[in-house]
């Protein structure tokens, strides 16, 4: 694989992928579960993995890529250890969600959908989290933070290593 962060770990992942592909090889309609499984193994979907999946499932590479880029759940780039989702839905918009988002962008030095260089955070905007009563709101992993002001952000982020 194209990563030098520890050969053993990589080969374990490759073995897990191979096992999964063997299991799904002859099953029609397996692409999405296979992509989910591969993303669970690697944390994202490297291009070489997409090529392997296409070959194993006898699907065109362009088709696999089309599916991956259609769904927001799939990622072509490595993801951060912590996923920040900033709500920009109507209620959060009214109550200053954009300012929160801008503050996070500046603080982390990333754009929407990007991951910090140290792989610590991935920043994403979302349309609604369903917690309008707490607007403006963000989630980090499974934790929710509501009624935010930009000043609170550094302290919150510091909790996530």
């Amino acid at each position: 694989m194209n990563c030098n962060c520890g050969g053993t770990a990589e080969s374990t992942k490759d073995a897990a992928l191979a096992t999964m592909l063997a299991e799904y090889r002859e099953k029609p309609g397996a692409l999405i579960p296979v992509l989910q499984g591969a993303q669970a193994i690697y944390g994202y979907l490297p291009e070489t993995v997409l090529a392997q999946i296409a070959a194993a499932l006898h699907l065109p590479l362009s088709h696999v890529f089309g599916v991956v880029t259609f769904y927001t759940q799939f990622h072509l780039q490595p993801r951060g250890r912590h996923i920040i989702r900033v709500c920009l839905g109507t209620a959060c918009h009214v109550r200053g969600g954009a300012a929160i988002f801008t503050a996070l962008q500046q603080h982390l030095d990333v754009n929407d959908g990007e991951t910090t260089e140290d792989q610590r955070f991935t920043l994403e905007s979302v349309a609604c989290i369903g917690a309008c009563g707490l607007a403006p709101v963000i989630t980090i992993n499974d934790d929710t933070f509501g009624r935010l002001t930009p000043e609170q952000l550094p302290e919150i982020l510091a909790r996530y290593a």
Binding site: F65, G66, F70
Partner: protein, 924 residues
């Protein structure tokens, strides 16, 4: 079929159930606009431009995917329909560059046409529609296609054409919402993708999103004229239109190749060579004047000077040494008319039968073997029969690279559920798609074929009724193969016995089973026997003479079938009439107004024998038309030495090449774009080639050059136009008796010979009632190993073949800048095991040496090739593989064993400054 009556715009129409509303409307002459619909593709109904009002329907219905229903009442131009269409066009224009003034597609753009028809303009500034537009950089990464996704309207036709016509699936929709765009593989530039540049996407694109880069700025559509013609590359016989426009000094130039749905063989599919490989036509290297070698230097001459000189020399040679001091190499690239005329020159002016052409190097063994077995040496069934075959064998044919458009029919058959077995030492593309790949050792085909016959007999799968009624000499094959068990063959071929058994039975028991083969079978010292063994299989099983069956040698060049048909062979006049037959001689003499005695009754020399005769000094002069034997024939160094020995060599060609350099006079010929005539494709289909542009420089069509030479030799042929030649061909050639340019002009599907009379429809399928020779004849043929076996000094087997992007000796394709860029140099394929043993790495340079010569090129390591074998093509004169190949010949057909010779490979330093091409497109 069930009929449905409905009403469209107040008119009642009755159509077959399942017809779309769109088709029903069009059958009434009602225009319904479309963007994503194409009659040759499945419909997705995604653009919604074709919506119509259907009484009682909840919403407007897309006509292209709505099936007719009884009593349906349709309105195609109701106010709400027009409003909906206007909105769709407005939304498309809202995200479309406003550059129609300079867009190459102006005039043929479907979006522009729709906007014009519905009076829709680009949104005004400040309009709610004047929003964000894409600003993607155009993809100019490759030499053929310009992809500007900002002009894409996401109709998806390119995606479907790539998948449905070409089975390539390079393109698909990527991303989502506003960001949606058509991506190649993983959204890379085309040059880094798996694209093979067939141009299908370009053919169906409704806007300027996809363009032929080379035609940009070379004339508006209304300035262009389209000339229907036949491709000059492989033997598939694709037709297309050459788009020509006025160029510099007002001379017309070929600016683009435009596919046409009316092409009988290929429809709108083409390969990269046919679609884009026209760069050679106007190339600066084209010969523009006759050249005479004076003191070792080429000097331009007038036609009259050159012709007078040639006639003088020839007359002297004829007087001094007689007729058989002449040798003629005709050309499988030239038209039937060209070949007929050069054959007449050889026989009636020179008085010799020493005429041959490169068919000797490809399918001589097919002609000899199939004539002996079946009575006719040509492909028995039409390409279209692949649509009804249940099982097909592909032997020694890398069809997707050598006959790319014909291969599409094979791939479609596989997709439909037909089964296939590929017999090839390399895991070629088709091998990956077929059910079986029999990866045999090169040169062991006959053992495999005999084992298949043994299985069919031993397992009781012989079609006894067919054998009894339609064949003879069954005992010979039964005796010859009785010990050829699959286990015996496994030891020789390396193919597991169980697989041999399985494939033999699959072929024998298929309702319709066919065999397709090419050079892997024929270019062997046992080539003729290999072909007979193939015929044996068809005769044993009765898999011949019916749709979807047959013995199908795929002919290599555009007109190799025709050149053979025209008697560019040492033993036969046109239509395979023996030169030794007195009655035929009298007929020909009468047609040519010459005394019968002036025509030789003695079979002439084959290509290889002619070179031997030059070497021996018995042939003094050669006339070479459109061939490059230095690069194409085995043992190139010997060919060069031989040509240097000839007293006088005349070459007719488009370009100076390795062979013409050795001539004494070179005459400039017209390319296929500059002349009219006919080509006969691999399925015996005679099709028109039409002049699209004026000759380049002073070039002339071959037939005209030869006619003038004949006249200068004192025998005017009297042809003033090319149609007269076909008239004469029809008069003297029974199988072409009903073919004329006049008839072809009104027969767009062409005519398959035998076509003996003007009212005969032609014969797409041979041997239906009886074999051409009466009964099919079995031949007992025994396996013999190749002439040269690997040994300690030369431990590897070298096999040769072709690449998608090039054609034969590369004189044309390597002069097309696009093809040359996509595949810029040759390499040697080697299995990783062999590379490891020799300590050579991928990309290293190697010297490959046989007993005859050596060459140097880069190595490519691939597990697609059987260990112990190396492979390369013969397209590149710098990596001249035919310096190494073995001239050992099949004794029956005189075809050399180009597919197998023993070589040694050693690592060498790369040439100084060598850089490996980054984007070379390699298929295997």
């Amino acid at each position: 079929m069930e009929q449905v009556t409905l009403t469209i715009d107040g008119q009642a129409v009755t159509v077959a159930a399942g017809t779309t509303v769109l088709a029903a409307a069009r059958s009434l002459g009602i225009h319904v606009p479309t963007l994503c619909h194409d009659p040759d593709l499945t419909s997705e109904g995604s653009c919604r431009l074709c919506v119509v009002h259907v009484a009682g329907a909840r919403t407007l219905m897309p006509a292209c995917v709505t099936a007719v229903m009884p009593g349906m009442v349709v309105q195609t131009a109701a106010p709400e329909v027009v409003e909906a269409r206007r909105t769709i066009i407005e939304l498309l224009l809202a995200n479309h560059p406003n550059d129609c003034l300079t867009c190459e597609r102006a005039g043929t753009c479907a979006l522009q046409e729709a906007a014009y028809a519905y009076g829709v303009r680009f949104p005004e500034a400040g309009s709610p529609l004047a929003g964000e537009k894409h600003q993607w950089p155009p993809d100019e990464s490759n030499p053929m296609l310009l992809r500007d996704m900002n002009k894409c309207i996401l109709c998806g036709k390119c995606v479907r054409a790539c998948a449905e016509w070409q089975q390539r699936h390079v393109l698909d929709f990527g991303f989502r919402g506003f960001a949606t765009k058509i991506v190649a593989d993983m959204d890379q530039d085309l040059i880094g993708s798996s694209c093979v540049y067939c141009g299908a996407c370009l053919t169906v694109c409704p806007t300027g999103a996809l363009l032929d880069r080379r035609s940009i700025g070379r004339g508006r559509p209304w300035e262009r004229e389209h000339v229907r013609t036949t491709c000059g590359y492989c033997g598939t016989g694709c037709q297309f239109d050459l788009a020509v426009a006025p160029g510099q000094q007002g001379k017309r130039q070929v600016v683009e190749v435009v596919p046409t749905a009316e092409a009988p063989v290929n429809g709108r599919s083409l390969c990269v060579k046919g679609r884009f490989g026209t760069g050679f036509i106007h190339h600066r290297d084209r010969l523009r004047q006759p050249l005479i070698k004076k003191d070792g230097q080429w000097v331009a001459a007038s036609w009259s000077e050159a012709i007078a000189l040639i006639a003088d020399r020839w007359q002297a040679i004829k007087a001094d040494y007689g007729s058989d001091a002449f040798g003629v190499l005709a050309s499988a690239r030239a038209t039937n008319e060209d070949n007929y005329v050069i054959h007449r020159l050889a026989r009636s002016v020179f008085g010799t039968n020493n005429i041959d052409h490169c068919a000797r190097l490809c399918h001589a063994s097919s002609v000899t073997g199939l004539v002996a077995s079946l009575g006719s040496g040509a492909m028995t069934n039409p390409i279209a029969d692949l649509a009804v075959t249940d099982f097909f064998l592909v032997i020694g044919s890398n069809t997707t690279e050598s006959h790319p458009v014909l291969a599409l029919a094979m791939q479609k058959a596989l997709k439909r559920g037909a089964q296939a077995a590929v017999i090839d030492p390399r895991r070629i593309e088709l091998a990956g798609q077929a059910q079986w790949h029999l990866q045999l050792r090169p040169g062991t085909d006959l053992a495999l074929l005999n084992a298949m016959a043994q299985v069919i007999i031993a397992e009781g799968k012989v079609n006894a009724d067919f054998v009894a009624k339609r064949t003879e000499n069954y005992e010979a094959v039964a005796e010859a193969v009785k010990d050829c068990t699959p286990e015996w063959a496994e030891a020789i071929t390396g193919v597991p016995a169980a697989i041999i058994r399985e494939v033999a039975l699959a072929y024998a028991t298929a309702p319709a089973g066919a065999i397709y083969y090419t050079m892997g079978v024929t270019q062997k010292t046992t080539g003729t026997h290999n072909v007979m063994a193939i015929a044996n299989l068809a005769l044993l099983t009765g898999q011949i003479g019916r749709p979807g069956t047959g013995v199908n040698p795929l002919r290599g060049q555009n007109n190799v079938q025709g050149a053979c048909d025209m008697g560019a062979l040492p033993n036969v006049y046109p239509g395979y009439q023996p030169v030794t037959d007195e009655a035929v001689r009298r007929k020909m003499a009468q047609a040519w107004h010459v005394p019968p005695e002036s025509l030789s009754l003695q079979t002439g020399l084959t290509l290889g024998e002619m070179l031997d005769a030059v070497d021996a000094g018995t042939i003094k002069t050669l006339l070479i038309m459109g061939e490059n034997p230095v690069v194409s024939d085995p043992d190139s160094d010997h060919v060069v030495q031989t040509l240097q020995k000839a007293d006088f060599v005349v070459a007719i060609d488009l370009f100076m090449n390795e062979t013409t350099e050795l001539a004494h006079v070179v005459l400039p010929a017209c390319s296929f774009a500059e002349k009219t005539g006919t080509f006969t494709n691999t399925e015996r289909r005679v099709q028109m080639v039409r002049q699209a542009i004026e000759p380049i420089g002073e070039a002339r069509p071959d037939w005209q050059i030869i006619t003038e030479l004949a006249a200068a030799m004192g025998q005017p042929f009297g042809y003033t136009d090319v149609a007269q030649i076909m008239k004469e061909i029809a008069e003297v050639t029974p199988s072409y008796g009903g073919i004329s340019h006049e008839r072809l002009a009104v027969t767009p599907q062409g005519l398959c010979w035998p076509c003996p009379a003007p009212d005969h429809p032609g014969t797409p399928r041979l041997h239906e009632q009886a074999f051409t020779r009466g009964l099919g004849r079995f031949h007992g043929v025994s396996y013999l190993p190749p002439a040269e076996q690997p040994d300690d000094d030369y431990p590897l087997i070298l096999s040769t073949g072709r690449r998608l992007f090039h054609y034969h000796t590369g004189t044309m394709t390597r002069r097309d800048p696009g093809l040359a860029a996509l595949y810029s140099e040759e390499h040697l394929e080697m299995h990783p095991d062999d590379a490891q043993a020799l300590g050579i790495g991928d990309g290293d340079w190697v010297q490959v040496t046989s007993r005859r010569g050596s060459m140097e090129l880069a190595l490519r390591i691939t597990d697609a090739i059987v260990p112990g074998t190396v492979f390369t093509s013969f397209h590149f004169a710098e990596a001249l593989v035919n310096r190494l190949t073995n001239p050992a010949r099949d004794t029956l057909a005189q075809i050399p064993e180009l597919k197998v010779c023993a070589v040694a490979v050693q690592k060498i330093a790369a040439p100084e400054g060598y850089q490996r091409p980054v984007h070379k497109r390699v298929l295997v």
